[in-house]
């Protein structure tokens, strides 16, 4: 996939006008992480109800087009869904959502939001993370 295909309209749109950008008030699950090799940072806040439905989800942070679009699309996908939609989401699911192919180092950009979201979920559920985030 060349860069013209990578930076397609939809990715640029999510980068420039990200969905769910901000912080959920009265959040009951949150996680923040960074990618030390490049400096991307993402924090996600969730409001999860008693039936484990994600009532609200938002993110803040700084990152490249890929990492921002990934967080934007992921939050859009998860809003209103049960938590297990998130915990069962795979790397490939996320890449399919983004509609791009990524290699090595840029893969980390896309996966940071998934890692942050899942860690928030596992912490909320009191479970040990069982994903390989690398």
């Amino acid at each position: 996939m060349n860069t013209e295909q990578l930076y397609q309209e939809v990715i640029l749109d999510h980068y420039r006008r990200p969905k769910n950008f901000g912080t959920v008030e009265k959040a009951n699950a949150t996680f923040k992480d960074s990618n030390p090799s490049c400096g991307d940072i993402i924090e996600m806040t969730f409001l999860i109800d008693k039936q484990n439905i994600i009532q609200d989800i938002k993110f803040t942070g700084k990152g490249c087009a890929i990492s921002t679009a990934s967080a934007s699309m992921l939050t859009q996908h998860l809003k209103g869904k049960p938590l297990n939609t998130l915990t069962s989401l795979t790397k490939q699911d996320l890449l399919d959502m983004l509609g791009v192919e990524l290699s090595g180092i840029r893969m980390k950009c896309a996966l940071l939001s998934l890692k942050v979201a899942k860690m928030a979920a596992y912490n909320y559920l009191g479970e040990q993370p069982h994903d390989d985030f690398e």
């Binding site: 060349n2 860069t3 640029l12 400096g39 700084k62 990152g63 490249c64």
Partner: protein
């Protein structure tokens, strides 16, 4: 005489490489430089013909390896006008700074003492001092950087006049490209009896370095940024300081004798070289120093200035491109950090890479100064003796492609 980068390029085999089917344009030498064939061959030859441990055996190979290792030290010492006893092999500049923080500064400070740094330091010249702060309760103070990207020299004098316990600064900022007035700063520090370390990683590869003329107490640099192998670097220290210091790491080679009841440290410079060193690294750095000297450090400096000025002129013509650091190219070393519109530097790097152009992106291991610029990250192109104007033209063309893709 001005150097001819076209003939210089023939010395660097990797520059023939194609990246994504395009001729490589390597603009990341500030992170690590490429290696000339003579350095590669010297290391190969050392392994094939002379390899053995150093300072340990009486057999021929050990004698040859020791001679080559110590001979490299002599030439490296000469390259910076230091005494051989003042020229310590370390892993890299980072290790050199840690060594000085632990073995020199730590025993001389008490809680509340100040370590003076600048706002434009690399993590290597911040984190060891944060660690000292945790261990000893010292405070860190930072000389501010002005909007122009240069050090506020008035503030420098104000802070130095309060006699901090130690002063450590970079000779050239790896983000802003600013050349700091090292000699003037050292003189100022010594006026107030403050010992000084210079992080010379970005300047030793690019210009003549004379530690006696600078009069610095310590100076560190890494081999891999100056055509040498990675995993080796130099700590220079004034002899009387090095003699007064306790060893950093303990082990073989750094001792005169060892008893069940204790040990006696070795003489300089081996006192700070515990364990089997990076022998081929030292030999390789020796070859790199010979190579750079043969090309000529003044010629290299001049070439880098020419390329930097050319790049600045052409980058300034690109609309929506913001350049960080001094606008006057005379105040700059061989690197330019920038951002293009709202394109994140990672995305820019990906697009340039597709065109065969290698640049760096991110916070460049100098997060505080990038934060101060109030941007999430910056892109950086950096130059060396093999950089041509055609390289810059290729990078500029790729930047226009990025603008097109991002619809800027």
């Amino acid at each position: 005489m001005a150097i001819n980068p076209i003939s210089i390029r023939k010395d660097f085999p990797i520059l023939k490489r194609k990246i994504h089917n395009k001729q490589l344009v390597y603009l990341d030498s500030a992170a690590s430089s490429e290696k000339p064939l003579i350095v590669i061959k010297t290391i190969e030859e050392f392994y094939k013909q002379h390899y053995a441990n150093v300072h340990r055996g009486l057999h021929t190979l050990s004698d040859e390896a020791t001679t080559l290792y110590e001979d490299a030290r002599k030439r490296i010492a000469m390259f910076i006008n230091a005494d051989v006893k003042e020229t310590i092999f370390v892993r890299n500049a980072t290790e050199g700074i840690n060594l000085v923080a632990r073995s020199f500064v730590a025993s001389r400070v008490k809680k509340g003492d100040v370590i003076l740094l600048t706002e434009m330091e690399h993590h290597a010249n911040i984190v060891p001092w944060h660690m000292l702060s945790q261990a000893k309760g010292v405070k860190l103070q930072f000389i501010p950087v002005t909007k122009e990207g240069i050090l506020d020299l008035k503030k420098a004098e104000t802070y130095l006049s309060k006699k901090p316990a130690f002063f450590s600064f970079t000779s050239i900022s790896n983000v802003l490209g600013t050349i700091n007035p090292a000699k003037e700063l050292i003189k100022l520090a010594h006026k107030y009896h403050v010992p000084v370390l210079v992080d010379a990683c970005q300047s030793v590869p690019h210009r003549t370095t004379d530690v006696k003329d600078l009069d610095c107490d310590f100076l560190v640099f890494s081999s891999h940024k100056m055509c040498g192998p990675s995993g080796i670097g130099i700590l220079y220290g004034k002899k009387h300081h090095l003699e007064s210091m306790t060893p950093f790491l303990g082990g073989g080679d750094m001792i005169k004798d060892v008893r069940y009841s204790g040990f006696t440290p070795n003489d300089l410079p081996w006192k700070f070289e515990a364990g089997t060193p990076n022998i081929e690294g030292a030999v390789g750095l020796g070859a790199a120093v010979d190579y750079l000297s043969k090309v000529g450090m003044n010629e290299i400096e001049e070439h880098i200035h020419t390329i930097t000025s050319y790049a600045l002129t052409h980058l300034k013509k690109i609309k929506k491109l913001v350049i960080y650091g001094p606008s006057n190219s005379k105040l700059r070393g061989g690197l330019i950090s920038f951002n293009l519109g709202d394109i994140h530097s990672h995305d820019l790097t990906t697009i340039l890479d597709e065109e065969g152009v290698a640049i760096r992106s991110g916070h460049h291991c100098a997060q505080p100064i990038v934060d101060k610029l109030n941007v999430p990250s910056v892109a950086r192109m950096s130059f060396y003796l093999y950089t041509t104007k055609q390289d810059i033209d290729r990078a500029i063309k790729a930047l226009h492609k990025a603008k097109r893709i991002f619809k800027l």
